[in-house]
């Protein structure tokens, strides 16, 4: 996937939190966001990096990109 520069409307910083902290933080923010908004989830938890896309798939939101930042991942999500 080519790296694009998404400008998130909202940043959810869940670094250092383990499963399911990042997912729970994201769900909370996604619920409060308007449709079409882009959220960036920052996580250092590999399990969450792999699990959050499964939740997005089921919940119907779009995973735009996962960017490896070296010491954490950025997951860009567009709310449906």
């Amino acid at each position: 996937m080519a790296e694009k520069n998404y400008e998130p409307d909202l940043v959810v910083d869940s670094r250092d939190s383990t499963c399911p902290g990042p997912l729970m933080d994201l769900i909370g923010k996604v619920k409060g966001a308007e449709s079409g908004k882009v959220l960036e989830l920052k996580t250092t938890d590999k399990g969450s990096k792999d699990d959050v896309p499964d939740w997005l798939d089921k919940a119907g939101h779009e995973l735009l990109e996962v960017v490896d930042r070296g010491d954490y991942w950025s997951l860009y999500v567009r709310k449906s």
């Binding site: 250092d16 939190s17 399911p20 902290g21 729970m24 769900i27 909370g28 619920k31 938890d45 939740w55």
Partner: protein, 132 residues
């Protein structure tokens, strides 16, 4: 089937934590969850036990308690967060609480109320039941 009804009868941290994780993510995803706390499960919700972090458990519980550099979200905060995000109800077994000489005042403020077995079966009627 519409959601999960989970019977929590253990106070082992790893079991309580697993129930909390699954329930919280389900409820936050709008899947209804009812947790029925009974038997030894009550100990995990006792204010003093939580305040003193006096948890029972095995290897995984110790790993959670001693985790360094990472923040493990423990079940009291997690369940509270989940209740604000979705359909999660936590019920206390009236019979066990009476037997143990406890009341909801001794417990952390996560309970929606007390239930007897008939009340639990009603709540569980259309749900998948999980016994822990």
């Amino acid at each position: 089937m519409d959601g999960f009804a989970i019977v929590l009868s253990s106070d082992e941290l790893e079991r309580v934590q697993a129930v909390s994780i699954i329930s919280s993510v389900a409820a936050a995803s709008d899947i209804p969850v009812d947790i029925f706390v009974t038997m030894n499960g009550f100990r995990a919700f006792d204010k003093e036990v939580i305040q003193n972090r006096d948890f029972n458990g095995g290897e995984a519980a110790e790993a959670m308690m001693n985790a360094e550099d990472v923040e493990v979200p423990l079940y009291p905060e997690q369940l509270e967060q989940a209740k604000s995000l979705g359909p999660l109800s936590i019920h206390a077994c009236e019979m066990t609480m009476e037997l143990m000489g406890k009341s909801l005042d001794d417990m952390v403020e996560l309970f929606d109320g007390t239930l007897g077995v008939a009340g639990f079966l009603n709540a569980a009627e259309d749900k998948q039941v999980i016994f822990v």
